[in-house]
Every structure is written in C-alpha cells, then in structure tokens.
C-alpha cells in the first residue's frame, strides 16, 4: 500500500500534488473532481480591484510559454463573499495566495484573509515592491526579511513564501524567509523573459516582458529547489515545468516535500489527477512506500559540497 500523505509542517496533505497559483480556479471542476488534489491554491488576490495587464497576455516560446497577466483581482470583498464559500464545499485544504505593493498593506491583507476555511497563506513576494525600486521583495534578503516579519506577525496560519527565480541570491533569500518565520517555501515563480514578433517587430506580450513557465523552467526551478532544501529546515514546495510523473519524483528527490503544477494544466487539464495516480503507480513499482522516502534522497555525496553554493556554471 503506497502512502502519498505529505507533511508540510503543521499541515498534512493527502498527496503532494497541488496547483500553482494563477493556473487554477474553481472552473477546473468542470473537468474533474477537485477533491482529489493535495491542496487548492487560489490565484493571487489583492485588496483592491485590479484590471491586469494589456493583451496579449500570453505567448508561446519554444516548448514553453510567457505570461504577463498582471494579477487582475476582484478584490478582498469578492474573495470573502464568493471565492472562499465556493471552496467550503471541498475537503481539500485551501491555500490563499496574496500580494500587495508594500509591506504594511501586504501584512494587513494577510491578517484579513486569516479566516475559517483558509488552511495556509501563500505570500507571493515575487511581485514588485513599489516602496523600493520596483524590484520584487524576494529579490533581496533584506526586503524579504522586512516583508516576511510583518506577514508573520499578521497571521497564525501556516505562511508559505513564494520565491522568485529573478535573483542571484536564492539561498540568502530562502534563509531570510525562514528566519523571518515562513513555514514553507514555494520555489518558484516565473522567470522574466521576452519574445518579439519579427514580422511586426512588436513585443509578443502587451506588457513587453513576462514570466517564463513550463518545461523550460524545470531545470532552473529544480536547481533552486535543491539549493533551498539544502539551506533551510522548513519544507520546500517545488514548482516549475512539472508535467510528468518523473518530474514530480525528480523534485521530491531534490528535496521538495510537495509540488505545484502550473502550465501543464493548460496543455492537459487532467494532468494533476493523472500525476497523483501515476505517482502511486511509480512508487509501487519502485518499491517506495512513503513520500518521505523520496524527499531529499538525492545521491549527491560524490559532488563536492562546495558547488552547492556555486553560482556560475561553465
């Protein structure tokens, strides 16, 4: 009997598969029973009503995609009146993703979504911090510490910090988030990228640049997952380019305790239930009884410790 139960600090999930913020909503219930998932994660919400970015908001690149949606949000009230009650129908724990432009507003929102029916709060600190130079909170350890301390003080719920790959200080940021009281890290958000239509010479995204997600992100997110798992004691949730059972296993081996699936759901909307079944089957055939037998089991003894912190490759 394969046991897919996954522990994320105080939270126990029935399996390690959950959606990535912004690539999931109650609309997916049209395709399968959402109660099979390990957790539900909302699109990032903001306090105010926001319109989002100009279209086109997505484009393709070789085997992956870019997006610049811009966190359109119907605001906090709509979340409380409509979204939260909707998820009450499910047993699966609900994780609410939130964001704000400044640390105090972020903390207030965090406090306001600390509500019955919310199992954890994912803080999208990969979004621009307009008090500083517009760089995301999670680009630097200092701004990570500042915002995470305020967020920690604002809620008793498990607090997941979602990191950005657009930094040269992944490990320092991860450690700052842990020190400031994060209960888990989500690794990671999308990587800033661009595409131009050579015919029209216009950027393919209305907002000029956007975030790379999908298979191209996998080796980058896997590296970050490994770096984070090696340098913090809180659980790491892997995210980036996951679409096949082997991807899930690879992230677990690298040190992730659970994974989020984003872009793959666009290509194959039933991918998450397929991954849950496929993971059980894989573990059965490989004789692996528990998820924890996989987590962090990478055989990296031979590779020198020094290179864990290596920052340049060739």
């Amino acid at each position: 009997m394969v046991d897919l139960t996954t522990r994320l600090g105080a939270l126990t999930l029935k399996n390690p598969i959950m959606p990535a913020s912004g690539t999931f909503s109650e609309d997916l219930a049209d395709v399968f029973d959402l109660d099979c998932l390990g957790a539900h994660v909302t699109k990032t919400i903001t306090r105010e009503i926001r319109g989002g970015n100009p279209t086109p908001r997505v484009c393709e690149v070789q085997g992956s995609m870019l997006n610049s949606i811009g966190i359109p949000s119907k605001g906090l009230d709509y979340f409380k009146s409509t979204i939260l009650p909707h998820y009450a129908a499910y047993e699966t724990p609900l994780v609410v993703s939130i964001s704000a432009n400044d640390a105090d507003g972020f903390a207030r929102l965090c406090s306001d979504v600390t509500l019955p029916g919310v199992a954890a709060i994912e803080v999208n600190i990969s979004c621009p911090n307009i008090e500083e130079d517009g760089k995301a909170f999670a680009m630097r350890p200092r701004t990570t510490t500042e915002v995470m301390e305020k967020l920690r003080a604002a809620t008793d719920l498990p607090l997941w910090a979602k990191l950005t790959p657009n930094t040269g200080e992944t490990i320092e940021v991860a450690q700052a988030a842990e020190a400031a009281g994060a209960d888990a890290l989500v690794v990671s958000n999308t990587l800033l990228a661009m595409a131009i239509d050579v015919r029209t010479r216009r950027p393919k995204l209305g907002n000029l640049m956007g975030g790379l997600s999908g298979p191209s992100m996998k080796p980058i997110a896997l590296r970050m997952t490994y770096q984070c798992a090696k340098s913090v004691d809180i659980p790491v949730i892997g995210c980036g380019g996951i679409g096949e059972v082997e991807d899930v296993v690879e992230f677990l081996i690298a040190g992730a305790s659970a994974v989020q699936v984003g872009t793959a759901t666009f290509i194959n909307p039933t991918v998450m239930p397929r991954l849950i079944d496929g993971l059980a089957e894989y573990m059965h055939h490989a004789g692996i009884a528990r998820i924890s037998d996989l987590v962090g089991s990478v055989r990296d003894e031979e590779a020198a410790d020094g290179v864990v912190f290596m920052e340049a490759a060739p």
């Binding site: 009997m1 394969v2 046991d3 897919l4 029935k14 399996n15 912004g22 690539t23 999931f24 909503s25 609309d27 997916l28 219930a29 049209d30 395709v31 399968f32 029973d33 109660d35 099979c36 699109k43 319109g51 989002g52 279209t55 086109p56 908001r57 997505v58 484009c59 393709e60 690149v61 070789q62 085997g63 992956s64 995609m65 997006n67 949606i69 359109p72 999908g214 872009t263 759901t265 666009f266 290509i267 194959n268 909307p269 039933t270 239930p273 849950i276 079944d277 059980a280 089957e281 059965h284």
Partner: protein, 280 residues
C-alpha cells in the same frame, strides 16, 4: 505478496460538463485555399454542444511544427446521431499547420465543448448573420439551430473572392437564404453591406443579428442595431492558454453601466452582446 496500490483519485476523472480525450480523424481535407475541414469521430460526451461554443485542441508536435499551447476552434458542425464533430480552419501558423498534417485515422486530443453559445430568444423570428472568411466556421451551426427554433435566417457570406466562399450549400440546406458578397465583386464593403441590411429591415424587419471576427462589421452592426433597436451577438477571438477560465489571459473589454469591464472570452464568451463589445 501482492500489494495493493492506493488509487486516491479513482473516479476523480468522472465526467464533468467538459470532456477531455481523443477523437479519431475521419477526414482532413482542403476546402479551398488555406481552409481545411476536419471531420472527427467523437465520443457522445463531446457532442452535447451549442452553436458558438468551441473546443480547445492539442495540436501535435512533429518535425516541422512545434506548437505548445492548445488552439481554440469553433464547432463548425456537431451531429450526435452520427457521432461527428467538424472544424473548419484556416492554416495560419504552428498550431493549424500541425493540424493540417494529420492523416485520416490519426487521433487528436480535444477539450470541450467550452464557452457559451449564441442565444435565440423565443420571440425572435427573423435572424441575420454576417460571416466573413473563417468566421463561417463559428456561425454555420446557427443555421441548424435557427431552423430548429422555427426562425428564418439570412446569411450574408463574405469573402475575398468567389472561390473562397464556403458553406453556401450547407446554409441553403438548412433553409437559410444566402447573400454572397465578395471583395472582387465590390459587394463586400461596409456601405454595400449597410444597404443590404437596411433593405432587409425595411422589407420585413429583423429580430436579431449575429456576427464574429471583423472589427469593421462589428461597428456597422452596432450602428444599425442602435438605430433600429435590434439586438445582436458577436463571437470574439483572443489568445488563449487554459480555455477554461483559470488564467485570465483571454480578456476583452466591454461597455457596461458603470464603465468598461474585462471578460474572459473562453468563459463569459466567446459569444457576447453586440452593443457591449468594443473594437480592437
């Protein structure tokens, strides 16, 4: 000792209103120019459709084409009795290029039916549709629904040349009156169209108008609709990622009391109120 695999989601892939699965290609031939007709053997759960709805198609990767996202395609024809689904598409890029290479017997992964179809209110009797190019694919199934609702339908079919006019026979078979117009003949311009439509209105009245795609025709119909208080609907297009309402990439702007709002083409659309739609 035989161990038992716990299948935590067994039964999770139960049928929701939207199906995802394979359909087998019966034929996939050129209609005219770059236009192709794909006829599929589809399972019953995919055939509970409305005119105006669409499928989100996983176009296969091969040596020459490497699409990544799915591609939205209007339902050109659905026939639950025959188990058939048809798409009429124009080969324009990676995705439609990949579709065009599929041989009879190949399978293609479909997600759908998706979105909201056209409305035919009970008190509407005389309907008009204006379709241009591949817009025919979206509007064609309205003919059948109009007939089933006991309405008379006039279809203005527009194309660059006569050779590119498609589906006239199909419309006529459904009892629609077809008015072909072409750029070549100089009959497809906005003013020419206005005359034809105003003529119809003068003759017998029009209860509703339907169109899709073209900005020029949208503006024309909005103007005529506003003057004569004739309601209408338009099917819109927009880049799509998820097709289900999750990603918010497919929004368009609409005029509403209180200001301009964004709505998702895949979820609130693709069919929208004619007057609320904004040009792009």
């Amino acid at each position: 000792m035989e161990t038992v695999i716990e299948m935590p989601t067994r039964g999770a892939l139960r049928k929701g209103p939207v199906a995802e699965g394979m359909a087998r290609i019966k034929s996939n031939d050129i209609v005219t120019g770059d236009y192709r007709l794909m006829v599929l053997d589809a399972p019953p759960e995919m055939l509970d459709c409305r005119a105006g709805q669409f499928f989100h198609i996983l176009c296969p990767t091969g040596e020459s084409f490497r699409p990544y996202l799915r591609r939205p395609m209007s339902i050109y024809c659905f026939d639950p009795a025959a188990g058939e689904l048809k798409f009429l598409y124009k080969v324009t890029g990676e995705g439609t290029g990949a579709l065009s290479e599929l041989r009879d017997g190949a399978e293609v992964n479909l997600l759908g039916p998706l979105g909201n179809g056209f409305t035919i209110r009970e008190d509407w009797k005389n309907l008009l549709l204006v379709a241009r190019g591949v817009g025919l694919a979206t509007l064609a199934p309205l003919a059948k629904e109009a007939r089933e609702a006991g309405c008379t339908l006039t279809a203005i079919c527009s194309a660059r040349t006569e050779a590119l006019l498609m589906s006239i026979a199909e419309f006529e078979a459904m009892g629609a009156e077809v008015i072909p117009v072409t750029d070549d003949a100089g009959t497809s311009g906005v003013e020419a169209l206005r005359e034809v439509i105003e003529g119809r209105i003068a003759e017998g009245g029009l209860d509703a108008m339907y169109t899709c795609g073209s900005n020029r025709i949208l503006t024309l119909l909005q103007d005529i609709g506003a003057r004569h208080a004739i309601p209408g609907e338009i099917a819109l297009e927009q880049q799509m990622a998820c097709g289900l309402g999750m990603c918010h990439c497919c929004v368009r702007s609409f005029r509403r009391e209180g200001g301009i709002v964004h709505e998702r083409v895949c979820r609130e659309g693709p069919v929208f109120d004619l007057q609320e739609a904004m040009g792009w």
